[in-house]
Amino acid sequence: MNKKSTKELRNNNQSDAIKHAQDIIDIVREPFLVLNDALKVVSANAAFYKMYKVSKKDTEGTLVYKLGNHQWDIPELRKILEEVLPKKERLTGLEVTHDFPDIGKKTMLLNARKIAGIELILLSLEDITAQRQAEEARERDEKRFRAMIEKSDDAIALVNAAGKVLYASPSTIRVMGYTPEEIQKLKNPFELVPPDERKPVTTLFEQVLKKRGSSGHTTHRIKHKNGSFIWLESVMTNLLFDPNVYAVVINYRDINKRRELEIQKDEFIGIASHELKTPVTSIKGYTQVLQNRFRKDGNIKAVELLSRMDGQINKLTSLIADLLDSTKIEGGKLQFHEGYFDFNELTTEIVDEMRLTSTKHTIVKKLATTKTIYGDRDRIGQVITNLISNAIKYSPHSNKIIVTTSEDKETVTLCVQDFGVGVPKEKQDKVFDRFFRVGGKKRDTFAGLGLGLYIAGEIIKRHSGRIWVASDVKKGSTFCFSLPIKKGMRKKQTNTLVEEELKHE
């Protein structure tokens, strides 16, 4: 054994090498084939059999292309083995996707190497199907989300804490008329809002910035690139802390159509209530003429009946007036005729008036303020009337109402307290909303359009004042408002709302 021919030695080396290779191949987890120079399989490892579902018997000694009943006759494989390898000796990382009739579509990463001297080819066939599918799914997901953003009717912008636009979606062209690039060049997107109307939008942005995950929306106008003004709804969400976003996301929705419809609706209500006033005027007139004539004739019974009729006509008139006022508020057309007036004098006047109409309730006056304030006397009077008539309306089982005025250095405050049904805590925020009505089963018990407190709230807000309610169910409510004593700037109407913090993981 120590004297061997060169050939023997070589053969020995060769078989050693094969064995060595075989050992390595067997412990490798990747599917592996060893081919001879005729491209027949010399051996395959366990991983190969497992992965590609072929048996050792059918594999060893078979031409590689014939494996699995010719399933392996793959053009790319032929090219590698017959054209590339003979020249290059090795080949790495070639990805081949092949649809195997038995095992389905597989993506393989091929590495091949010709071992010089022993005329063998090592071929590893890593199955990367799962990886590729995951990547494709990820890509599909990304494409889908991108399409959702890019094809969305809403324009979407990501801005940093300074308001600088980091990303703008292609829909900005459709919504605002500007390309995403043009939007990105702006100092901040709020520049598009007319200067006089910018404050509520920037205020909302600042509020949203303050709290992680918080979100708020507002409706406002912007100047479209074509020069026209359009209405948008902006929803801002603070995702500055979210490592996937690091931005405030702003959605811009074109609400011009909605706005037009709202305007149309308000115009319609305006016209309708105006039209209603004409017959109401003549009915009221005839009633009063009749009343006057019966009084002259001494027919007291008829006078009394007509006086009740006149009272009902006044109710109708005030319903119509509320409708008209609410449309004017929405259209920003509520006009004020401001001047200085004595706050207590006005309160007394209205309390006296209300005492005439309400026989059941005792209205107690506790007036402390003596201030002259600046504002629209009629409109403030309307608010006081509304609060007192609500107190009467919502306290059917009690008979006392207390009207208090007070003052401090800067404001006068008026409160109307009743001992009636009260407002549940969760509804206290909503009582000043347009169309809010006391809901639930008792809904029909209290008639109304749901406009009175909304109008009252708007009148007070426009006087730079504050209106609020404190109430306990079944114990009663106290509605108050305060007004600045000094002549203040009237506030512009705004529609902003900061919503609760979003839940974010």
Binding site: H274, K277, T278, P279, V280, T281, S282, K284, G285, Y286, Q288, V289, N292, R293, K296, I313, T317, K328, K333, Q335, H337
Partner: protein
Amino acid sequence: MNKHSSSTNKKKILVADDDTAILHVMTLMLEDDGYEVTSTLDGETVQKVQNELPDLVLLDIWMSGIDGKEICKQLKSQKKTKHIPIIMISANKDTRDIAKEAGADDFIAKPFEMQDLLAKVEKYTK
């Protein structure tokens, strides 16, 4: 009963409105209170008042077809008619400013209390 005993002493009121019922009921109110009333649905009639000038004009702001504001301005710009008090009437509260701008002496909103109307008419015809 009437405050103006003889017919010759009666104050003459011209009422212009585009609604017949309102025109009718205002006429009743004023006649019951002792005024002599001429009423018209047509704003142009008001513009053409030359003979027998009224002591007061009650003018609807939105007379259909013709703008009450213009009629008012015109009457107030002419020598012959500018002394006639004009009270503008409208269903729109906010036209108070328009009445002022048109040079009207006063304003009353529809629907109104008969007492308020009569008080204002009396004030300007004293």
